[in-house]
């Protein structure tokens, strides 16, 4: 169905062909860009600081946690500010993208009921706008890490683009489904907002994953890691924060200490579950595969329901 070709409309929704939909959406990528631009412009219209506001939030976190945990409470997770932000920014992108995406079709009711365009651009633009904010916030984190002389350059950085790709896939997959469901059941938005609170605490953002995993049996561990956000957050933590040890580790306090070696030292604890990079890539791969299946499913739901959007809004 090209913009200039022959259109054929019946009571049935046209057959869902994901490649065709991708082509259709790609052909309208300028709309996505413009909608993202609109979101950002509207957000900072009539502000003096503009986009700086996006960056002040992580900056505040960094300064507060850096001061609190290095000056007042120099225990627990070393460089807690960096640890926290490398997970928190990921979660912020996920949460804002999913919340804005869920509401995207309803919020643009005036467009949906008046103009024909591929409706997919709405949730995609919502996730895209969150991505732009994420980029500013990551820039703040990187500048901070360079400023305090944090050692993070290496192959581990490859986990960041990989993790980001999987995160975008997963967020989009969910947002597409929830944005369509939200048109018919406005409960969806409330459900999403509530879930995002719970989800934050089952994901290792403010606490270390190995601390939790160490107290769980093998099945509970599997269940914990089945949370698709856990491997993504862990990948960012491994990529930016790195493999670090906490507690009384003495000479074992090197980056590549073997788990077996650490276990011999009482009172010494690794913060992340695995020192190598392969474990994280492997976990990310699983989430990516799952996200691809999910995206196909929720796109199908979205497409089926989108024929009725204009009527239900």
């Amino acid at each position: 169905m090209s913009a200039t070709g022959l259109h054929h409309r019946t009571s049935e929704s046209p057959r869902f062909n994901i490649l065709e939909r991708i082509r259709e959406v790609l052909s309208r990528r300028e709309v996505i860009g413009n909608l993202i631009g609109k979101e950002l412009k509207v957000k900072y219209k009539s502000t003096v600081l503009g986009v700086l506001w996006s960056m002040l939030n992580p900056l505040l976190y960094l300064v507060v946690f850096w001061v609190v945990f290095t000056v007042f409470l120099p225990a627990g997770i070393p460089d807690f500010a960096v640890f926290l932000l490398s997970g928190l920014l990921v979660y912020t992108l996920f949460a804002t993208g999913l919340a804005a995406g869920t509401g995207s079709v309803v919020d643009n009711a005036s467009l949906v009921t008046k103009v024909a365009f591929p409706r997919e651009v709405l949730p995609l633009a919502a996730v895209g706008a969150s991505l732009v904010n994420f980029a500013y916030q990551v820039a703040v984190l990187l500048v901070f890490m360079i400023a305090i002389g944090y050692d993070f350059v290496g192959w581990n950085l490859l986990l960041v683009p990989a993790g980001l790709t999987v995160l975008l896939l997963f967020t989009t997959a969910l947002a597409m489904g929830t944005s369509a469901l939200n048109v018919r059941y406005r409960d969806t938005m409330h459900l999403v907002e509530l879930s995002l609170i719970a989800w934050f605490w089952v994901t290792p953002i403010v606490y270390s994953a190995s601390l939790v995993l160490g107290r769980l049996d093998i099945w509970a561990q599997r269940l914990y890691l089945a949370n698709p956000l856990a491997p993504i957050v862990l990948a960012f933590q491994r990529g930016l924060y790195g493999y670090r040890l906490a507690g009384n580790c003495n000479d074992a306090g090197v980056q590549d200490a073997l788990p077996a070696r650490i276990a011999e030292l009482p009172g010494c604890q690794a913060i992340l579950p695995d020192p190598g990079l392969t474990w994280y890539f492997w976990r990310l791969g699983l989430v990516a595969a799952m996200s691809l299946v999910l995206i196909a499913l929720s796109w199908w739901i979205f497409f089926r329901m989108s024929g009725d959007f204009a009527e239900e809004l």
Partner: protein, 395 residues
């Protein structure tokens, strides 16, 4: 003509009307057990039409006749319940001017956003931008936020963007009547330009005379069905008659001609037929000559005045004025004397009928479009003429 630009084939559209639409999951679950409380409403029933490329077609009909629903289905915004629509070429639907304009953004930003949603690439918008701004006459305000625009400026910009989208098929819903008269003329000029370029247009309007003026063909919808289709002039004529029937029950096909209307005249203050129109506030007399060959008991003469959009303005009859005609045989002259014409401007339509008091039989009726014109020098705004005077006192 070869392939039609738009082919509508047996399209029906059903809306489910819920008294209170259950939209939350809990309510869904609850109302699942109860029988469906929804009432079916068929907005369109079995509509078929072919619109050849390059023609301009008007969709007319009373409010709620399904015009906009049909336009939305052709534009791909909603789906038909059954039947199919085939269209050929890029479609732009002007259902609402400036749909999607964001009040916080400037005119310029909104032009780019709106144009891209309507299907223009950035490069295309760049090349049309100056023309869009020129058309909207908003050169000085294009970098102001749209929230500071007047509603007239808002729709002008919306229209300017939409007509530069360069569609093969343009769907227009009641939006030709925006802005002041000068801007309307510009819009109609642009429509004429579209026609010359051989583009296809479907125009929804309740202003049937506009459709008669602009369109080659027209389709009249009534209760979701096609009531008439074909030459625009013919369909518009049918439409006017149809609209008369809504408020003038004497407009019927089955006239008995027991009493016939011989003549209907309008007389001005001087008792002459006005040739230039009637001045607002002046008296007007409607004179109806009837003739019955055989005696007819108690016929009633009724008259109704409609404005240019077929809205009933005034209705009366000899039964209302308690002026019984008795048994009529031969000729009678019935006059309705209106002491003050309470309208300010525009063309008005007159319908007159003779019928039995209970309307069981209609003997004859007559109607004239543009029966009289109200004029004022200088022209005034507002739609009602209120008799008044003014005085000044020294205090």
């Amino acid at each position: 003509m070869t392939e039609p630009a738009v082919a509508v084939d047996g399209v029906s559209k059903r809306f489910k009307l819920y008294r209170e639409r259950p939209t939350s999951l809990k309510e869904r679950v609850i109302s699942f057990r109860r029988a469906e409380r929804a009432v079916d409403f068929w907005a369109l029933r079995d509509i078929s039409a072919e619109i050849p490329a390059g023609t301009t077609v008007g969709l007319i009909g009373a409010n709620g006749s399904g015009k906009t629903t049909l336009l939305k289905i052709i534009g791909g915004i909603i789906r038909p319940t059954s039947g199919e629509v085939r269209t050929r070429g890029r479609i732009a639907a002007l259902l609402e001017l400036g749909a999607g304009f964001h009040p916080e953004l400037t005119g310029r930003e909104n032009v780019y956003l709106n144009a891209s949603i309507l299907g223009l690439s950035r490069r295309e918008t760049d090349s049309y931008f100056d023309r869009i701004v020129e058309f909207s006459e908003l050169e000085r305000f294009i970098d102001n936020q749209v929230k500071h625009y007047s509603s007239g400026m808002f729709v002008r910009l919306g229209f300017a963007v939409a007509i530069h989208v360069d569609p093969d098929i343009l769907l227009v819903d009641e939006v030709l009547a925006v802005g002041d008269e000068a801007f309307q003329r510009k819009c109609l000029d642009r429509v004429a330009g579209f026609q010359e370029e051989g583009r296809t247009m479907i125009i929804v309007s309740h202003d049937a005379d506009l459709v008669a003026r602009v369109c080659d063909q027209a389709i009249m919808l009534d209760g979701g069905r096609v009531r008439a289709a074909g030459d625009a002039m013919e369909v518009v004529k049918d439409f006017h008659t149809h609209m008369l029937k809504i408020h003038a029950p004497f407009v019927r096909e089955d006239v008995t001609k027991e009493v016939e209307i011989r003549d209907v005249r309008l007389l001005n203050r001087k008792g002459e037929t006005p040739y230039r129109g009637v001045r607002a506030g002046d008296p007007l007399t409607v004179q109806v000559d009837i003739e019955a060959k055989l005696p007819v008991r108690d016929p009633v003469v009724s008259m109704a005045i409609y404005d240019g959009s077929d809205r009933l303005m005034f209705k009366t009859g000899t039964d209302w004025t308690q002026m019984p005609l008795g048994t009529v045989e031969g000729k009678r002259r019935v006059s309705f004397r209106i002491s003050t014409i309470p309208f300010t401007s525009g063309g008005y339509r007159l319908a007159v009928g003779v019928h039995s008091p209970d309307l069981a039989a209609v003997y004859d009726w007559y109607d004239q479009q543009g029966a009289f014109e109200i004029w004022r020098d200088p022209p005034r705004e507002g739609s009602v003429w209120v008799p008044h005077e003014s005085e000044v006192e020294e205090l």
